[in-house]
């Protein structure tokens, strides 16, 4: 965990410094008559004249205090403030997407496994393949055209309606839910396909296990076997898969937030990329990686909590 964290900072730092053009050069572009002396002054101001190891150490020390420096943009606010105000929306959308994935994919996967090779199972298999292949932003566009433009059921951009400040509490919540429905749905689609497929194969594997055969031989009712014994064991790998799916969800938020004009971290990142706001880019990249790491750690802890074989350090 800690070495990984170090590695993440080293990769981010290396990327920042391997990139062509440092801040002083950026200044030079703006002012072609800048003198060599001034460039030196700028370099020492940013600490760019020090050896890389010293620069890395300084950067790391500031990182520990969550100080990612100031944004290059006109407001030059601290990067961490900019991220902090954008992060909640992104987290909300992703958490809701994960909940939606779990709520829909697990029953579908179990049903497909229990009724293997039935028509329902076959249709689900086809849908899973389509779900894997569908570009999320295109699905978003289609939903926008269908539900937003043609039927006018859901708003197609932003997270608040015009004049939401004047609504009462419940109206505001309803407004927010209406705005978040499509982004959450679109974020969830790839995960839905993956998770239901995974659940199906996990369930199929467990059903063939020896202890299930034993339970059948002992006369345990089939429903109890399926939905208590088998399901419990098939659910375990889902935890790991959830942990693994976090980078994809966070990465996908760039496209989804851009598509639906959601003011979240993904949109902030996109704007940072367009304006080459390096401190902001690096800050978000590090935070994204740390979030992933946290997600994996949570998954490991949850796995240990759910699986006594791992908790007691035995061999699985």
């Amino acid at each position: 965990m800690i070495p990984l964290l170090f590695g993440i900072t080293i990769i981010s730092f290396a990327m920042m410094h391997l990139a062509p053009g440092e801040p002083s050069v950026v200044g030079q572009e703006l002012n072609p008559r800048i003198s060599a002396h001034d460039i030196e002054r700028l370099r020492s101001y940013y600490g760019l004249d020090k050896p890389l190891s010293v620069q890395y150490w300084r950067w790391l020390k500031r990182l520990v205090h969550l100080d990612f420096g100031n944004s290059f943009s006109a407001d030059s606010r601290p990067v961490i403030d900019k991220i902090a105000e954008r992060l909640p929306v992104t987290l909300w959308i992703n958490v809701l997407a994960i909940l939606l994935i779990l709520a829909v994919a697990i029953p579908i996967g179990v049903a497909s496994a229990v009724h293997q090779d039935s028509w329902g199972d076959r249709i689900m298999t086809v849908l899973v393949f389509v779900g894997f292949a569908i570009p999320s932003f295109w699905l978003g566009l289609m939903l926008m055209i269908g539900l937003g433009v043609n039927l006018n059921w859901l708003p197609i951009s932003g997270i608040h309606s015009y004049g939401w400040q004047h609504m009462d509490f419940w109206e505001r919540q309803r407004d927010l839910v209406r705005h978040l429905t499509m982004p959450v749905l679109v974020s969830a689609i790839a995960g839905l396909a993956g998770m239901s497929r995974f659940m199906r194969s996990g369930m199929l594997e467990v059903i063939r296990a020896d202890f299930i055969t034993t339970a059948r031989a002992m006369g345990v009712p089939e429903t109890r076997i399926r939905y208590r014994l088998a399901l419990k064991n098939a659910l375990l790998p889902i935890i790991t898969l959830l942990g693994l799916s976090i980078p994809g969800l966070i990465g996908g938020s760039v496209i989804i937030e851009q598509l639906f004009s959601v003011p979240g971290m993904g949109q902030l990142f996109y704007q940072a990329v367009l304006s080459r706001d390096y401190p902001l880019i690096m800050g978000i990249t590090v935070i994204g990686a740390v979030l992933t790491l946290l997600g994996n750690l949570l998954a490991d802890v949850a796995y240990a909590w759910a699986d006594p074989r791992i908790r007691h350090g035995g061999k699985g």
Partner: protein, 281 residues
């Protein structure tokens, strides 16, 4: 059994492989023959034919500059497939190299390379790609390189796992005992035996790269207009979502079908190589 009966039996047994093969073959053919098939020049601006809905003259309608969307999609197929193949080629090269060293080079190399792989896996790939694109300029070459540089991790792990199990097998031990150099053992004995899973992952990788390229182009950070790409036609679709549904519908369908084809082909091949594994995700 006659030849046609055998072919039919093969289709029955490997429906995914056949369906994937047909889709991939058709899309590749359309891309290759784009200059002969396209009814219009993909960059030809025609102010008299702006935003026309699909008709017999323009099968998929026209865009905001009066360009024929169908022709642009044909040329877009070339872009998507080229990016897919080159990016996957780069990823395979890095992945196989690192995986081979990790799987055959001893404990130290293994743990170093695998830690490195874990670290890179922590970064949301799309963030990494966007961050690098921000430093470089968005162009088709940079996109190929960047997607390649950020998608080798799966192959590296796969090759390592294959090598670790293969190196214990008798024929490899025998080769080592006769003093054949490691590079030759890897090239002659290990790689050919791991080729099946590598091929499967390469084909699935093309599907992934096509998706990423279209996403990048959709964000305006990929293939730059006026060059056509499925992703950047969709950007126009988004900008004209209230009035021109055809700009959004068709390029997306093209992406969907292409990615589906490569996924089916990959999964089908996996089953073909290793029937035991069928039914796995």
């Amino acid at each position: 059994m006659t030849r046609s009966q055998a072919a039919l039996a093969f289709c029955r047994r490997h429906p995914m492989l056949v369906a994937g093969g047909i889709i991939v073959g058709t899309v590749s053919l359309l891309a290759l023959l784009a200059p002969w098939l396209a009814p219009y020049d993909p960059t030809d601006i025609n102010v008299k034919a702006i935003l026309l809905p699909p008709s017999w003259q323009h099968w998929c309608g026209t865009d905001t500059l009066g360009r024929d969307v169908f022709s642009r999609m044909l040329y877009g197929a070339r872009v998507s497939l080229a990016v897919g193949f080159v990016a996957v080629g780069i990823a395979m090269l890095i992945g196989i190299l690192l995986g081979a060293v990790a799987g055959y080079g001893g404990k130290l190399a293994d743990s170093l390379i695998m830690r490195w792989t874990d670290m890179v896996l922590c970064f949301p790939t799309f963030f990494l790609i966007l961050a690098v694109i921000a430093f470089l300029k968005p162009s088709i070459w940079n996109i190929m390189i960047v997607i390649g540089l950020t998608s080798w991790m799966g192959v590296a792990r796969l090759v390592r796992a294959e090598f670790l199990s293969l190196r214990q097998r008798e024929f490899v031990l025998a080769a080592r005992a006769t003093g054949i150099p490691a590079v030759r053992i890897i090239g002659r004995h290990l790689l050919p035996n791991a080729m099946g899973p590598i091929l499967v992952s390469a084909i699935l990788g093309v599907a992934g790269a096509v998706l990423v390229e279209s996403g990048l182009s959709f964000l305006g950070l990929g293939v730059q207009p006026p060059n056509p790409s499925w992703g950047n036609i969709l950007t126009e679709g988004k900008d004209n979502i209230q009035i021109a549904w055809w700009l959004s519908l068709y390029p997306g369908l093209a992406i969907l079908v292409t990615v589906l084809g490569y996924n089916l082909l990959g999964e089908g091949l996996r089953d073909y190589f290793d029937p035991k594994m069928s039914g796995r995700p």
